[in-house]
Symmetry: C5
Subunit: 343 residues, 5 copies
């Protein structure tokens, strides 16, 4: 009955499920969405997985979506839905199964399941940061190299791609942190996440242990929140490093340009001097009578004048340039400024 | 009696209304504002629709404005006001009507109506993002192309328009999120939105079900809040991509300029060398007696000297340039920096 | 007794007051500050109007300052203080008076007075935005025009002035919003603002109606809060548009520069080629014996060689430039990037 | 016993105190830190003044540090500690003393003392803003002057110093606001600040008056909070003005550069044309037989061709440049953009 | 049973412990993690030290990690774990031991231990700021020097490294502040940190003193929070100074470039004039009959015309440039702007 659901619900009303139970048995089967709902006493709506990252407790189940991974935790089993084609197979078989059956852990099954999934998500984020970080550092290192006159443009492309990945990673970390924070802010939801407590109220003294469970759950969630926070801090630092490096690259390029421009200007000055005194030579080259034609000394005189003159004019222009680029009076400023800064 | 209302209330005191009732009947009629108020037991002030996005419960009605769409939800009908000329006709007839009569949905009518309207708003925002995103990506892709020497200025225009649309979209998403958040923050308002509960208090056990309704309403609103949040995240990422790309474009343009400037400088060096040694030729071209006129070897000597001399000087200048653009001593720095960065 | 008050209190201890009462009578008179305080049972300190924007309830009066406008609302009259020279006269006579006597409005007098003043403030802010917005849009439009080689500097001045006005406007909107929010956050203050309730507690059933008044007051304040929020959103969008446009202007100017620099480089290449081959002509122009003087074919040969040679060298240099500005190998990158971006 | 305290406590265990009592008597003396503590019933730790800005109530004393000023307020006296060398003497003698004895003020002594100190701090901040603001405005005004081709570098230095002072001022305002806000957020601390209430509980009806005192204290603190907020707003606006002006300066410098570059390009075009056609002259200047030597018309023909030819080529190049700098097709864009912008 | 723990727990299940007891005795020994847990009644999980900065109370112990330092505070001893190789030895022996045995301090042992560790962390942060600050100021000072034409690129490298260190420092300060703030926000945790209270409830009147302890603990934590806040403010100011300086550097480089470009343009104008009039000389240099060959005055006439002509044209071009770079009409703007700014 919802527009966006229409195609989905009519085409794929059944899930491929991999089930991990408390004893470490792993089974894999297909099941219709409606059957699954009935079995777990959930409503169809609860299994829509509309948001890319969500973690909710519903009728003694924890329903989790972490980007590609969709899972349902019940008090004694973990169901992973639609796991095919997500490159999760290795993790499911080699890591998830052993973790769930680990005996060191005294807390109920849902803790193990939840921890495995949250840990997997944090690991995924960490992996993405680990991939993007050295790429960015290498690219930046070669871009800020002061010997380089112009930025290598294929490296710029790589940098752009990596900043893009980095800001996507930052968004994902933020979304993950927010989904955990929403739970941490409401004690009721934390208690709902402790599934075992709700089922066997008669087995132990309810009041003491149930609070304990909630506290353990809070610690567990807080732990992953802080891990995500640390990742977020690292990503933020990397982002700032990119920004700082870009400023440095700009200053570098501008400096190179100024240096070349000064050289260019100095040569232009030389050419100008040569043109100016060359004009004398051109004048004497005219087929016009200058009355000096016969005197052999005049040739050397004029030639010498031309070369010496352009040399002298050039020197004057260069020293004029030197003075021109220095500002007039502010030598008293820098020390004052320094004192202010250090104060 | 309010200044800003004066023209509105005197010119258009009547609404064009399209009414959808619970059975799927759709009627369309004109009604005076005052009559409508009396009928729904509302005050004139409640139907002013002053804010571009608002969602309020008033006297067992939900009054909604979502930019162009003005609607009133009562427990058994949905009134859409002033719907003409808003390009909403297709949606009203083809999508809204079927959604409202859908039988799969066990919750009261106002839930269906509210969901349809919120979903419509989110879809509108999503559509706007979908329009602006590929346009921006295409423009950026062609602008950051490293082969391009100068940015295509008509593309810059398109980029500017699209960033403008994007920041308007961001504002609208923010306003939509805030209007939902304001309700989610106050449990009272959520309960007021559950219209049915208030009308038929005798039909069922009030305490249990009414809480349930409020919880369903909270889930519904939270769902759309999170969808808007995801849209906002995507828009924010796009904004950052534009910023990152602009930095890259600047570095690109600067790099091109530096490359051209070096080429220019190298040619200026060549021209300078030619001018310098050409001056010898000019000197010998003067109509002055140099005493070498008769010796045929001198011609080849001087000509050779001119060409060889300029060639040699040019080479020296080029190698000077090469050394000049390299900084003096910092080869030990890069590796240290790298170690620091990777640590 | 306060330092900052000393001059004020000794020079101007009397107010020029314009009084609007419930029946629409408007009187204007001068009154000493101390007399006014006694009359209204306020303390001298309450009428200091130290902050540019404030709204407080004190001893059954509402004391308001909105930048230039100072007003006191009592349950049956509105006093506007020191109204001269503020260009408020038109508003006071033509708009405020009719609004206060309007009969459509069933709520007590203080609601009408408060609404009139808050509306006036919002209108002032809106007017300022309306003044600054088209000026900014026009200036930006002419500055981002891609045909323009250099930014018109008088337009830059106008833009700077308008951004300054815009950020002042943003501050004022923020201050206005905060002064309303401070009240909306504390229910007690809202109740204090409902003056009528406090005076005639015996006239009606206290509990029900007084809550109602407070709710009406909250709606009224919230309404103006949201209007200010919308203004703030618009101002923020305008600010972002200026930032985006400035980036575009920079890219535009840089692009123009690159285009000119390439043209310049191409011409420098041409000049270099001409100088190089012109040197041959200069060589043959020397008054030295080259043994070719008598052969008429040599003239055409050398001349042709000079022109053809410079043409060929120029062409080679141009094609070298064309290759040089293209990067080496990254054609495989763009499509990958695109896929990434669109994913 | 704390590392950081060690030197301090061993070298300077005694304060130079200036005491202002309720009757206006001012005495100045030296006192050991330990004696002072015993007298006021405080612990040594309370008089460490570790933070640059703090305001705490301890055992019926208010201990204040506002950057250089350290003070203790007791119910009937104000002690200013270590006041020498802080350039506070004028303020202490000429302003503080009269304020403390002012009789207009009906509230207890600690209110007068606290108000005097908070007012002094706000005045100091205001003075710093007043010093830095005109300096920044003057510098910016001369820097954004569109006639200026290159920024005056000594003015840039002044601007940098002033932005530094401005951001230090912003930090100080923030710290001051936070230290007041911390108190305003906790009603208990406000009550502790009302010293008189605690001492003479029997003198008046405790419940009514003591609440009144707390309310007066809250108003007093809020007043200074808002004054600091206004200062902060002004400083923030100034900061944004600097940012906006810097953008304008960059656009200005870039524009100048583009204008000069176009002129340069136009002249390069001219030089190129002259070189091209000058080559003809050089060719005819060669000592080679061209067979035209005797015909006097050829001289004028070739000369004319040279001048006309370079003129024509230059004109073509200039018009080519004009067309080249205009983009191809986007004249339809600007009006659309305008419509969009104004919508 | 956790993936990330696997290697750690199998390789290093034992700690090197340095124990400081209340009497000042320092012992150092190795202990298995499991034994330590049993002894202190902790769970293995509590000693994982997963986060770089944490401070938690667990079963009457305070477990602290401050980057490299791992410590456990019990009511009568402080255990520092894995202290080798962290360059902490000097601090442990010379500073920590004396502080812990100091007798001036009347509060329980855990206060002394906690204070010593928090103080150590703040000192570390302060040291890092003290290292980075003068390096940054020196680099900036030499980079903003207006005499410098191009930024020294090895200094840019140093600046980049230091900004990187600075943003890492900012992150660490933020993390430290947040870990303290998390405790300050929850009174329960503060009470748990007062270990002594829990052990000897019979020794003194519980209710009064225990509250006192919690208050002392809050003061202690708040003190270090504020010290970290001050450090954060200083780091933030330094960051802003870097940003401001970079803007100034850019304006500086741009200004230099404009000045050089104008000089270059003026020389290009000169060269153009010389080329233009030199063409006359080239024309007369051609081996063609101009009929003026015999007249000696023509030589001087033409030569003079060439020099004077180029001089005049150059002057006209220069004055054209002067006018061209000045904008047309906006002299009335600056004063208006000033008035606005100062208003």
């Amino acid at each position: 009955h919802r527009v966006t659901d229409a195609p989905l619900s009519s085409v794929a009303p059944c899930f491929v499920v991999m089930k991990f139970d408390q004893e470490g048995k792993v089974t894999s089967f297909e099941k219709k969405k409606t059957e699954l709902c009935q079995e777990l006493n959930l409503q169809a709506r609860d299994l829509r997985f509309q948001h890319s990252t969500s973690l909710t407790a519903r009728n003694n189940c924890i329903i989790i979506r972490m980007e590609p991974l969709k899972a349902i935790v019940t008090p004694d089993s973990l169901l992973v839905l639609d796991f095919r084609g997500l490159e999760l197979d290795r993790w499911l078989i080699l890591e998830l199964a052993p973790q769930l059956t680990s005996q060191t852990y005294s807390l109920p099954f849902e803790f193990r399941a939840l921890e495995a999934i949250l840990q997997h998500k944090v690991n995924t984020l960490q992996t993405r940061l680990n991939e993007v970080k050295p790429a960015i550092l290498d690219t930046l290192e070669s871009l800020v190299d002061p010997k380089i006159l112009s930025a290598d443009r294929s490296k710029l492309h790589i940098l752009l791609q990596n900043s893009k990945s980095l800001s996507e990673l930052e968004t994902d970390i933020k979304v993950y942190k927010e989904s955990l924070l929403k739970i941490l802010d409401e004690d009721e939801i934390i208690e709902e996440l402790c599934l075992t407590k709700w089922r066997e109220p008669g087995d132990f003294e309810e009041t003491t242990l149930c609070i304990d469970h909630a506290e353990e759950m809070e610690l567990l969630l807080e732990n992953y929140y802080m891990q995500a926070e640390e990742l977020g801090n690292k990503a933020g630092e990397l982002k700032r490093l990119i920004d700082d490096s870009e400023s440095i690259i700009f200053i570098n390029l501008d400096s190179h340009r100024n240096v070349m421009m000064r050289l260019n200007l100095q040569l232009t000055m030389g050419s100008f001097s040569l043109s100016l005194f060359g004009l004398i030579g051109v004048a004497f080259g005219m087929n016009l009578t200058s009355c000096f034609e016969e005197d052999p000394r005049v040739f050397w005189l004029v030639t010498g004048f031309m070369f010496l003159g352009s040399g002298l004019i050039w020197r004057r222009l260069l020293s004029f340039l030197g003075r021109h680029l220095e500002p007039a009076a502010p030598p008293p400023i820098p020390p004052i400024w320094k004192r202010n800064l250090k104060a």
